[in-house]
Protein backbone atom coordinates (compact mmCIF):
# COMPACT_ATOMS: atom_id res chain seq x y z
CA UNK A 1 0.00 0.00 0.00
CA UNK A 2 1.33 3.47 -0.86
CA UNK A 3 1.82 6.05 1.88
CA UNK A 4 -1.24 7.87 0.67
CA UNK A 5 -3.40 4.74 0.59
CA UNK A 6 -2.22 3.95 4.13
CA UNK A 7 -3.15 7.45 5.25
CA UNK A 8 -6.62 7.20 3.75
CA UNK A 9 -7.07 3.82 5.34
CA UNK A 10 -6.06 5.25 8.72
CA UNK A 11 -8.48 8.16 8.31
CA UNK A 12 -11.35 5.83 7.43
CA UNK A 13 -10.61 3.80 10.53
CA UNK A 14 -10.91 6.99 12.56
CA UNK A 15 -7.20 7.49 13.38
CA UNK A 16 -7.15 10.90 15.03
CA UNK A 17 -3.39 11.31 14.77
CA UNK A 18 -3.53 10.79 11.01
CA UNK A 19 -6.17 13.48 10.72
CA UNK A 20 -4.22 15.88 12.90
CA UNK A 21 -1.14 15.47 10.71
CA UNK A 22 -3.12 16.00 7.55
CA UNK A 23 -4.73 19.15 8.91
CA UNK A 24 -1.39 20.57 10.05
CA UNK A 25 0.16 19.90 6.67
CA UNK A 26 -2.58 21.38 4.52
CA UNK A 27 -4.31 24.05 6.56
CA UNK A 28 -1.93 26.94 5.71
CA UNK A 29 -2.20 26.26 1.97
CA UNK A 30 -5.97 25.86 2.18
CA UNK A 31 -6.32 29.23 3.88
CA UNK A 32 -4.05 30.91 1.33
CA UNK A 33 -5.99 29.59 -1.61
CA UNK A 34 -9.30 30.41 0.02
CA UNK A 35 -8.08 34.00 0.38
CA UNK A 36 -8.17 34.34 -3.41
CA UNK A 37 -11.93 33.99 -3.27
CA UNK A 38 -12.99 35.52 0.04
CA UNK A 39 -12.12 38.95 1.42
CA UNK A 40 -10.81 38.26 4.92
CA UNK A 41 -8.54 35.89 6.78
CA UNK A 42 -11.44 34.87 9.03
CA UNK A 43 -13.64 34.01 6.05
CA UNK A 44 -10.77 32.02 4.53
CA UNK A 45 -10.37 30.05 7.76
CA UNK A 46 -14.11 29.30 7.69
CA UNK A 47 -13.79 28.00 4.15
CA UNK A 48 -10.86 25.80 5.21
CA UNK A 49 -12.84 24.41 8.15
CA UNK A 50 -15.78 23.69 5.88
CA UNK A 51 -13.37 21.96 3.50
CA UNK A 52 -12.27 19.54 6.21
CA UNK A 53 -15.90 18.65 6.87
CA UNK A 54 -16.30 18.03 3.15
CA UNK A 55 -13.18 15.85 3.19
CA UNK A 56 -14.54 13.74 6.04
CA UNK A 57 -17.94 13.42 4.40
CA UNK A 58 -16.43 12.39 1.09
CA UNK A 59 -13.70 10.13 2.43
CA UNK A 60 -15.64 6.90 1.95
CA UNK A 61 -16.34 7.80 -1.66
CA UNK A 62 -12.76 8.88 -2.43
CA UNK A 63 -11.46 6.43 -5.00
CA UNK A 64 -7.90 7.60 -5.34
CA UNK A 65 -8.22 8.47 -9.03
CA UNK A 66 -6.65 11.83 -8.26
CA UNK A 67 -4.13 12.42 -5.50
CA UNK A 68 -5.47 13.18 -2.06
CA UNK A 69 -4.01 16.68 -2.32
CA UNK A 70 -5.72 17.42 -5.63
CA UNK A 71 -8.99 16.08 -4.27
CA UNK A 72 -8.81 18.21 -1.10
CA UNK A 73 -8.02 21.37 -3.08
CA UNK A 74 -10.90 20.68 -5.45
CA UNK A 75 -13.28 20.53 -2.49
CA UNK A 76 -11.81 23.78 -1.22
CA UNK A 77 -12.18 25.70 -4.46
CA UNK A 78 -15.77 24.51 -4.87
CA UNK A 79 -16.69 25.72 -1.40
CA UNK A 80 -14.81 29.01 -1.82
CA UNK A 81 -16.39 29.73 -5.21
CA UNK A 82 -19.88 28.95 -3.93
CA UNK A 83 -19.34 31.32 -1.06
CA UNK A 84 -17.97 34.07 -3.31
CA UNK A 85 -21.04 33.80 -5.53
CA UNK A 86 -23.37 33.77 -2.52
CA UNK A 87 -21.71 36.93 -1.18
CA UNK A 88 -22.01 38.59 -4.56
CA UNK A 89 -18.26 38.80 -5.06
CA UNK A 90 -16.70 38.77 -8.48
CA UNK A 91 -14.62 35.67 -9.05
CA UNK A 92 -11.02 36.46 -9.92
CA UNK A 93 -11.08 34.24 -12.98
CA UNK A 94 -10.61 36.90 -15.60
CA UNK A 95 -7.55 38.09 -13.76
CA UNK A 96 -6.43 34.48 -13.28
CA UNK A 97 -6.78 33.50 -16.87
CA UNK A 98 -5.41 36.59 -18.55
CA UNK A 99 -2.90 38.19 -16.21
CA UNK A 100 -0.77 39.25 -19.17
CA UNK A 101 -3.39 41.54 -20.64
CA UNK A 102 -2.47 44.42 -18.43
CA UNK A 103 1.26 44.99 -18.74
CA UNK A 104 3.28 45.60 -15.60
CA UNK A 105 6.98 46.41 -15.45
CA UNK A 106 9.17 44.33 -13.15
CA UNK A 107 11.24 47.43 -12.41
CA UNK A 108 10.15 51.08 -12.70
CA UNK A 109 11.02 52.53 -16.09
CA UNK A 110 12.80 55.45 -14.44
CA UNK A 111 15.49 53.08 -13.18
CA UNK A 112 16.66 52.72 -16.80
CA UNK A 113 18.15 55.03 -19.41
CA UNK A 114 15.93 55.93 -22.33
CA UNK A 115 15.38 53.13 -24.89
CA UNK A 116 16.60 55.68 -27.47
CA UNK A 117 19.75 56.49 -25.54
CA UNK A 118 22.58 56.77 -28.12
CA UNK A 119 25.12 54.72 -26.20
CA UNK A 120 23.34 52.67 -23.52
CA UNK A 121 19.67 52.21 -24.51
CA UNK A 122 17.64 50.59 -21.73
CA UNK A 123 20.69 50.25 -19.50
CA UNK A 124 20.44 50.77 -15.75
CA UNK A 125 20.43 54.44 -14.80
CA UNK A 126 20.48 53.46 -11.12
CA UNK A 127 21.99 50.00 -10.73
CA UNK A 128 20.84 47.58 -8.04
CA UNK A 129 23.46 47.23 -5.31
CA UNK A 130 24.31 43.99 -3.54
CA UNK A 131 22.29 43.69 -0.33
CA UNK A 132 24.17 43.58 2.96
CA UNK A 133 24.04 39.99 4.22
CA UNK A 134 23.42 40.84 7.89
CA UNK A 135 20.51 43.18 7.12
CA UNK A 136 19.06 40.58 4.77
CA UNK A 137 18.97 37.98 7.52
CA UNK A 138 17.47 40.29 10.14
CA UNK A 139 14.03 39.40 11.52
CA UNK A 140 12.71 42.82 10.50
CA UNK A 141 13.59 42.16 6.86
CA UNK A 142 11.52 38.98 7.02
CA UNK A 143 8.62 41.03 8.39
CA UNK A 144 8.91 43.47 5.49
CA UNK A 145 8.98 40.54 3.11
CA UNK A 146 5.82 39.08 4.66
CA UNK A 147 4.11 42.49 4.41
CA UNK A 148 5.09 42.86 0.77
CA UNK A 149 3.60 39.44 -0.02
CA UNK A 150 0.45 40.28 1.93
CA UNK A 151 0.04 43.50 -0.10
CA UNK A 152 0.01 41.68 -3.46
CA UNK A 153 -3.17 41.11 -5.48
CA UNK A 154 -4.79 37.84 -4.38
CA UNK A 155 -3.78 35.71 -7.35
CA UNK A 156 -0.14 36.83 -7.25
CA UNK A 157 -0.09 36.32 -3.50
CA UNK A 158 -1.41 32.78 -3.84
CA UNK A 159 1.15 31.82 -6.47
CA UNK A 160 4.20 33.25 -4.68
CA UNK A 161 3.06 31.82 -1.35
CA UNK A 162 2.63 28.33 -2.67
CA UNK A 163 5.77 28.39 -4.80
CA UNK A 164 8.25 30.25 -2.63
CA UNK A 165 6.98 29.97 0.95
CA UNK A 166 5.62 26.44 0.77
CA UNK A 167 7.88 25.13 -1.95
CA UNK A 168 5.26 23.66 -4.29
CA UNK A 169 6.29 22.84 -7.87
CA UNK A 170 4.87 24.92 -10.69
CA UNK A 171 2.81 21.93 -11.78
CA UNK A 172 1.20 21.56 -8.37
CA UNK A 173 0.34 25.26 -8.30
CA UNK A 174 -1.10 25.10 -11.82
CA UNK A 175 -3.32 22.19 -10.85
CA UNK A 176 -4.52 23.67 -7.59
CA UNK A 177 -5.30 27.07 -9.10
CA UNK A 178 -6.28 25.86 -12.56
CA UNK A 179 -3.70 28.06 -14.30
CA UNK A 180 -1.90 27.65 -17.60
CA UNK A 181 1.87 27.30 -17.51
CA UNK A 182 2.34 30.79 -18.92
CA UNK A 183 -0.08 32.46 -16.54
CA UNK A 184 1.45 30.77 -13.53
CA UNK A 185 4.80 32.16 -14.63
CA UNK A 186 3.46 35.67 -15.30
CA UNK A 187 1.86 35.81 -11.84
CA UNK A 188 5.03 34.48 -10.18
CA UNK A 189 7.15 36.99 -12.11
CA UNK A 190 5.04 39.96 -11.06
CA UNK A 191 4.88 38.81 -7.48
CA UNK A 192 8.63 38.22 -7.14
CA UNK A 193 9.45 41.48 -8.91
CA UNK A 194 7.28 43.51 -6.55
CA UNK A 195 8.55 41.77 -3.45
CA UNK A 196 12.16 42.32 -4.57
CA UNK A 197 11.42 46.01 -5.14
CA UNK A 198 9.90 46.30 -1.66
CA UNK A 199 12.95 44.65 -0.08
CA UNK A 200 15.26 46.88 -2.08
CA UNK A 201 13.59 50.05 -0.96
CA UNK A 202 13.62 48.85 2.65
CA UNK A 203 17.25 47.70 2.62
CA UNK A 204 18.41 50.88 0.91
CA UNK A 205 16.63 53.20 3.26
CA UNK A 206 18.38 51.20 5.96
CA UNK A 207 21.90 51.69 4.61
CA UNK A 208 21.42 55.26 3.34
Amino acid sequence: MSGEAQLIDALRKGDEEAFRELVREYQPSLVRIARIYVPTQAAAEDVAAETWLGVLKGLDRFEGRSSLRTWIFRILTNIAKTRAVRDGRTLPFSAMQEPGRVPEAAVDADRFLDPEHPRWPGHWAVKPEAWPEDALLAAETRERLAEAIEALPATQRAVISLRDIEGWSSEEVRNALDLSETNQRVLLHRARSKVRAALESYLQEDTA
Binding site: G14, E16, F19, R20, V23, R24, Q27, P28, S29, V31, R32, E45, A49, W52, L53, L56, K57, A105, A106, V107, A109, F112, P115, P121, G122, H123, W124, K127, P128, E129, A130, W131, L136, T141, R142, L145, A146, I149, I160, D164, I165, E166, G167, S170, R185, L188, H189, R192, S193, V195, R196, L199, E200
Partner: protein, 83 residues
Protein backbone atom coordinates in the same frame (compact mmCIF):
# COMPACT_ATOMS: atom_id res chain seq x y z
CA UNK B 1 28.69 29.96 -33.80
CA UNK B 2 25.85 31.73 -32.11
CA UNK B 3 24.99 35.06 -33.59
CA UNK B 4 23.98 37.65 -31.05
CA UNK B 5 21.66 39.34 -33.47
CA UNK B 6 20.16 41.59 -30.85
CA UNK B 7 21.65 42.17 -27.47
CA UNK B 8 19.30 42.38 -24.54
CA UNK B 9 18.99 45.67 -22.73
CA UNK B 10 18.90 45.62 -18.93
CA UNK B 11 15.27 46.71 -19.06
CA UNK B 12 14.46 43.68 -21.24
CA UNK B 13 16.53 41.33 -19.14
CA UNK B 14 14.67 41.97 -15.88
CA UNK B 15 11.47 40.81 -17.58
CA UNK B 16 13.07 37.46 -18.45
CA UNK B 17 14.43 36.60 -15.02
CA UNK B 18 11.52 34.37 -13.99
CA UNK B 19 11.47 32.58 -17.35
CA UNK B 20 15.21 32.04 -16.92
CA UNK B 21 14.90 30.65 -13.39
CA UNK B 22 11.94 28.47 -14.44
CA UNK B 23 13.92 27.04 -17.34
CA UNK B 24 11.40 28.44 -19.81
CA UNK B 25 13.85 30.24 -22.12
CA UNK B 26 14.95 28.65 -25.39
CA UNK B 27 18.59 27.70 -25.72
CA UNK B 28 19.29 30.80 -27.76
CA UNK B 29 17.52 33.08 -25.29
CA UNK B 30 19.42 31.47 -22.45
CA UNK B 31 22.72 32.25 -24.18
CA UNK B 32 21.67 35.87 -24.70
CA UNK B 33 20.55 36.12 -21.09
CA UNK B 34 23.72 34.63 -19.64
CA UNK B 35 26.05 36.59 -21.89
CA UNK B 36 24.39 39.83 -20.73
CA UNK B 37 24.61 38.77 -17.07
CA UNK B 38 28.28 37.93 -17.61
CA UNK B 39 29.17 41.49 -18.55
CA UNK B 40 26.65 43.58 -16.57
CA UNK B 41 27.12 43.90 -12.83
CA UNK B 42 23.77 45.71 -12.43
CA UNK B 43 21.84 42.77 -13.87
CA UNK B 44 24.04 40.32 -11.97
CA UNK B 45 23.08 42.08 -8.74
CA UNK B 46 19.44 42.10 -9.82
CA UNK B 47 19.38 38.35 -10.49
CA UNK B 48 21.07 37.72 -7.16
CA UNK B 49 18.43 39.86 -5.40
CA UNK B 50 15.63 37.84 -6.98
CA UNK B 51 17.33 34.63 -5.85
CA UNK B 52 17.71 36.05 -2.35
CA UNK B 53 14.05 37.08 -2.33
CA UNK B 54 13.01 33.54 -3.22
CA UNK B 55 15.34 32.02 -0.62
CA UNK B 56 14.13 34.40 2.08
CA UNK B 57 10.49 33.62 1.28
CA UNK B 58 11.29 29.97 1.89
CA UNK B 59 12.31 30.88 5.41
CA UNK B 60 8.98 32.46 6.27
CA UNK B 61 6.92 30.15 8.39
CA UNK B 62 4.25 28.51 6.32
CA UNK B 63 1.62 29.53 8.84
CA UNK B 64 0.43 27.57 11.82
CA UNK B 65 -2.90 26.34 12.92
CA UNK B 66 -4.15 27.92 16.13
CA UNK B 67 -4.76 25.43 18.97
CA UNK B 68 -8.45 26.46 19.02
CA UNK B 69 -8.87 25.81 15.31
CA UNK B 70 -7.12 22.48 15.63
CA UNK B 71 -9.32 21.48 18.54
CA UNK B 72 -12.46 22.41 16.62
CA UNK B 73 -11.35 20.29 13.66
CA UNK B 74 -10.51 17.33 15.87
CA UNK B 75 -13.96 17.62 17.49
CA UNK B 76 -15.49 17.52 14.03
CA UNK B 77 -13.40 14.45 13.30
CA UNK B 78 -14.66 12.68 16.43
CA UNK B 79 -18.26 13.56 15.53
CA UNK B 80 -17.72 12.15 12.10
CA UNK B 81 -16.16 8.99 13.48
CA UNK B 82 -18.99 8.31 15.88
CA UNK B 83 -21.73 8.98 13.35
Amino acid sequence: MTVYAEQLSCQELVELVTDYLEGALSEEETVRFESHIGRCDGCQAYLEQIRQTVALSGRLSAGVLSPEAERALLDAFRDWRSS
